[in-house]
């Protein structure tokens, strides 16, 4: 019995004006897997996951989420698709004029039509999961970066998505807070949710991922299991990248 992939890229190209950022990527991601996307800056990794929920639209090709094209979906259909895909931004993007709880309940009420009471119950549960039950009434401005990002993860979890996308979730954090966010993400693995994480945290990737996608200049240069990728990368660019990232001067979150 073959299970259809939960995310599928079909010969996707993306250009910003004259700049071609994604040059023909085709790939399938299995349900429940944990995929880490890495690569040098400018390689197109952020653009790649942003196209999954159509924050960016491909110039050519198609992307299917659970069999439905996110590229061609519009209006009601697109919004429904998006509630099934949680997105966590590098800059958190919490709504500053709302408390943590309100940040989490907004989409539950406005998009999924839950009552205030139902939404609050879900909010308290997911906030507890990320370890911030006591901060439910606090505003983003009063939270540390790590706490804000955990609220952002709770917000993404609230709609019970099948897929969670992370766009460099720890890149905007001070080093001492990276750990608490990675811990939360680690706890989400093997719970049936598909995770796709764009990150530079190679220690995390090595221990948590099922699959590493190495992107360079808009193409997938390597697609391997972490054990293979870290011990014997096949492409020269991947080798170069790893040596820079894992050099003695770099303190990886190991």
């Amino acid at each position: 019995m073959s299970v259809p992939p939960v995310i599928e890229f079909r010969d996707v190209h993306k250009s910003f004006g004259a700049l071609e950022v994604i040059r023909g990527i085709s790939l399938s991601i299995d349900r429940g897997s944990v995929v880490v996307v890495c690569g040098p800056s400018g390689s197109g990794k952020s653009t790649l996951i942003r196209m999954v929920n159509r924050l960016e639209a491909p110039t050519l090709g198609d992307i299917l989420v659970d069999g439905i094209s996110s590229t061609h979906a519009r209006g009601e259909e697109l919004r429904r698709l998006r509630t099934g895909v949680g997105f966590v931004f590098q800059q958190f993007n919490l709504y500053p004029h709302m408390s943590a709880r309100q940040n989490v309940t907004l989409a539950l009420r406005k998009v999924l039509g839950k009552t205030q009471a139902e939404a609050d119950a879900v909010a308290d549960e997911v906030l507890d999961r990320v370890g911030l039950a006591d901060k439910a009434g606090t505003f983003p401005g009063q939270l540390s970066g790590g706490q804000q990002q955990r609220v952002a993860i709770a917000r993404a979890l609230a709609t019970r998505p099948d897929i969670l996308l992370f766009d460099e979730p720890t890149s905007a954090l001070d080093p001492e807070m990276i750990g608490e966010v990675l811990t939360v993400i680690r706890q989400l693995t093997h719970q049936g949710i598909t995770l796709v994480v764009v990150t530079h945290e190679m220690g995390f990737a090595r221990t948590v991922a099922d699959r590493i996608l190495f992107l360079d200049q808009g193409r997938i240069e390597e697609d391997a299991h972490p054990d293979d990728f870290f011990s014997a990368p096949r492409s020269p660019r991947a080798r170069q990248f790893l040596s820079q990232i894992l050099s003695p001067l770099h303190t990886a979150g190991d």
Partner: protein, 239 residues
């Protein structure tokens, strides 16, 4: 120094009556025009975000027209031309007998002067308000829109729940300033015959030549209204 000041000349009898009536009219027109301005500002802001290009362009053109012509001319246009453009049924209703619409001093809310003034000043400030809201919107981080989109929020919900509240917070001082402006600009409506404070001050002046006293009272009234209005609006910031 040839100034003999006689407060009783303006604070008793007919002059006092006029000035108080002027005060009521100024308050009434400020209130009504503010309502109109707010509605227009929200409407314009929504129109400016329309995905339909001709709608956006037409809105920008209209805004530019209102911003680049004097309020006085706009009032004259609405007064002389506007009333005639209304549908006959509405006109008939407005000129009918409505005792509740007559303010102290025999000023009817539906008199051409009042209606043209409320609409003219309301439209004028509505445009400037929408400019301030737009500036406030531009200052909202683009990530906010993306976060809302990624959660599947509709365009309307994004605007109402995420963008406008932050735009208003960003632009609160200028927005308050525009409402205060509106109150001060109501003084211009005396030119089309609305019997508000400035009109009545001139009335008193031509009645008994007490220019200093009449204008002093008018000045104090405007300062007082402005002070109270500003306190009220700034207190709203807590909300």
């Amino acid at each position: 120094m040839g100034l003999s000041i006689d407060w009783s000349g303006v604070l008793t009898g007919q002059p006092l009556h006029w000035l108080l009536s002027g005060l009521v009219v100024t308050l009434a027109i400020t209130l009504v025009a503010s309502g109109i301005a707010t509605a227009i500002a929200v409407g314009l802001t929504a129109l400016r975000l329309s995905p339909v290009t001709p709608v956006r362009l037409a809105t920008q053109a209209g805004i530019s027209l209102i911003r680049n012509t004097p309020l006085l001319i706009q009032l004259l246009v609405w007064y002389f031309v506007g009333f005639g453009l209304l549908p006959p049924a509405l006109k008939a209703w407005m000129t009918g007998d409505h005792p509740w619409s007559v303010l102290p001093g025999q000023v009817s809310l539906f008199a051409p002067e009042f209606a043209a003034s409320a609409w003219g000043v309301g439209l004028f400030i509505g445009v400037f308000l929408s400019e301030e809201l737009q500036a406030g919107l531009n200052a909202v981080a683009p990530g906010q829109r993306e976060a809302a989109a990624s959660q599947g929020l509709s365009r309307w919900d994004t605007l109402a729940s995420i963008l406008l509240p932050q735009a208003l917070r960003n632009a609160y001082q200028p927005v308050v300033g525009q409402y205060l402006n509106l109150m001060k600009l109501t003084s211009i409506t005396c030119s089309i015959g609305l019997a508000e404070i400035t009109y009545q001050a001139r009335q008193v002046e031509s009645f008994n030549s007490h220019a200093f006293e009449a204008f002093a009272v008018a000045t104090l009234l405007y300062l007082a209204i402005g002070f109270i209005l500003e306190r009220l609006l700034l207190a709203g910031r807590r909300a």
